[in-house]
Symmetry: none
Subunit: 414 residues, 2 copies
Amino acid sequence: MRAEIIAVGTELLLGQVVNTNATFLSEELASLGFEVYYHTVVGDNSDRLETVLKLADTRSDLVVLCGGLGPTEDDLTKQVVAKHVGKTLVRDEAGYQKLQRFFEKREQPMTENNLLQALIIEGGTGLANRTGLAVGIFYQAPTVNYLLLPGPPNELKPMVYEQAIPLLKKQFIQEEQLISRVLRFYGIGESRLVTELKDLIDKQTNPTVAPYAKPNEVTLRLTVKCTTASEGQQLLDELEQVIMNRVGEFFYGYGETNSLANVVVDLLKDQQKTVTAAESLTAGLFQATLGSIAGVSAVFPGGFVTYTAATKHAFLGIDEALLQSKGTVSRECVEAMAQHARNLAQTDYALAFSGVAGPDTIEGQEVGTVWIALASEEGTQTIRQFIPRNRQSIRENAVMTGLDLLRKQLLKKQ
Amino acid sequence: MRAEIIAVGTELLLGQVVNTNATFLSEELASLGFEVYYHTVVGDNSDRLETVLKLADTRSDLVVLCGGLGPTEDDLTKQVVAKHVGKTLVRDEAGYQKLQRFFEKREQPMTENNLLQALIIEGGTGLANRTGLAVGIFYQAPTVNYLLLPGPPNELKPMVYEQAIPLLKKQFIQEEQLISRVLRFYGIGESRLVTELKDLIDKQTNPTVAPYAKPNEVTLRLTVKCTTASEGQQLLDELEQVIMNRVGEFFYGYGETNSLANVVVDLLKDQQKTVTAAESLTAGLFQATLGSIAGVSAVFPGGFVTYTAATKHAFLGIDEALLQSKGTVSRECVEAMAQHARNLAQTDYALAFSGVAGPDTIEGQEVGTVWIALASEEGTQTIRQFIPRNRQSIRENAVMTGLDLLRKQLLKKQ
């Protein structure tokens, strides 16, 4: 089944509002087994909307429209769709009563234009709007189905979850199921991952393999069509095994909303270990990344941002002679930072970051030079990286590398 | 001039990524005087992209495509556009050299597919990618112009600002000049700002006023059509004055790429003052935000992340009795954090953050409770906020509030 999404609203075309509705609807439609091939945004204009509807009819089984159901002059979605399918608009009794109650409670007269919100396409189904006034509409034409939803996300989402999804399930109920699994990788670029898995991606039919480049990492989404969940999971297991044999060393976790920081915090919690940090280059970004995860205080008591030689000495007690002779961007400095931070915070692990984020060089070292150290009871591991990119990328990349270094160390202990 | 935006990427149709590029490009195109009538999203599929291109040719003077310029199998935007206009792909010498240097520095072999990133449409103009590897392309066909941009926003935005906008200005804006000025506001919501300026927005002709809600702030873009720059600047000055009389207390700076952190760092530099921080709630996010600004080490030597009561005592020397009796989420604690941090770092200013980011309450205090203190030689200012939102919003909002508190203090000294 093919679906497409048409968002109606001039504010979207002016760049005043982000089209998050299309993203939300796409995910929900995919989970129902729809193939979404197009998103369109069109302004509050009858002719252009009619043009878009004509095109949609030629290529989709389900056309989802959002926006333009309100009471203002601009709102014309249902009028245009009604004309397009050759029907009139009629009153939705439940929607009309809700509208009446709303104005009675406020002791305001209901102006004529407000009535628009309770109208639906003749022969269609009204969808109640729990958090707003404009009713939604599901209308079945001979070859195309139309779903009309309100634009505000806080009205659209409840209507989708409570009204539209049950209705679409009933209407389009499928023998086939669709199951997805997301694998996450760090330390391998999208292009190399795709090269390693080229034959799998090329010959894919069922399951399919789709790579996604995310900031500083890559994900693979495996999707299978199946008649039973257990059959689907088995097919995914088999494909995952083939993938792991080739690039398993870069795999760190499952799930669309997972992250390297999340995996590291979970490992620390499982092993009842703690971590601190001393950050120069990254200036708190490593710790802020840990802080984004709920419940992290159980494994992370705090740490240091030592951006200058003076604070490396004052906060961490690093020998001024070392800072002078070796420089702050050096193996010796970053190792001392990690070791001193670990002692001060009395944690199991400590990470330290030093380097040159640019645009200027430091101590004659090139922009992109990064030193990372991990101190533990077994000693200190140090890595040097060269990331010749922009300031933000260098810092984000260093944080990810630090997380991955700690993750690998923690995995050795399992 | 009519423009439309085509975003290419199956991840958008699966709902894995929000199409923020379309929003960004719409705002920039509007400021150049383009009328954007359509956004389209299409997957990584040659036939469907070709269909969309044919349609775009019939209705737009400028077709902006984003995404699909990378090195993977999925990336086919430039191949499809080249075929559509009947041209081949040729090497962009500058882009090729950047690619070579990138792989040489990393001491990795450059795989064949990577070369794709340095190809442009024969007869087109290559647009350098300062923050990535895939070059952009501007191609002029007899009746339509095509602009091809990379998908990652951190590559697309610099390319638009530095390469595409100057090029489009030269190409499309001849007699008339178009000048924009962006005013940035913190501490006022979009709906209130629009209400305060309703008459200006409603009656706008030249200059125009467009409000944009950004994360944690609002911007106003004033755009004027004029024959000379000085005439244009004068019209903008007059309009700005009217706006400032109404909402000037919330204004903090100019410019599309400016930020509250940037303004604060500039003020500190101008006044030769320094700042440190002690962060609980925000766990390093305030310092990482400062760290994102080049040259910040002149005014920010470092600071502390004290996520637990133990580190508030150990790192900052806060009295355990105070922590016990008043709690860590309290006026007394956050004031002590700021004062102790200022003494330890020997800075002019110190900010401290404590609060409840959720999902769990702390010491019986509600999620969203935030305390922020600013210590200086004149004493300590403290504010309490209640931000009943999600974890990330609470932390980001606290950082912005801290920056604004420091900004206002610095302005008093000017």
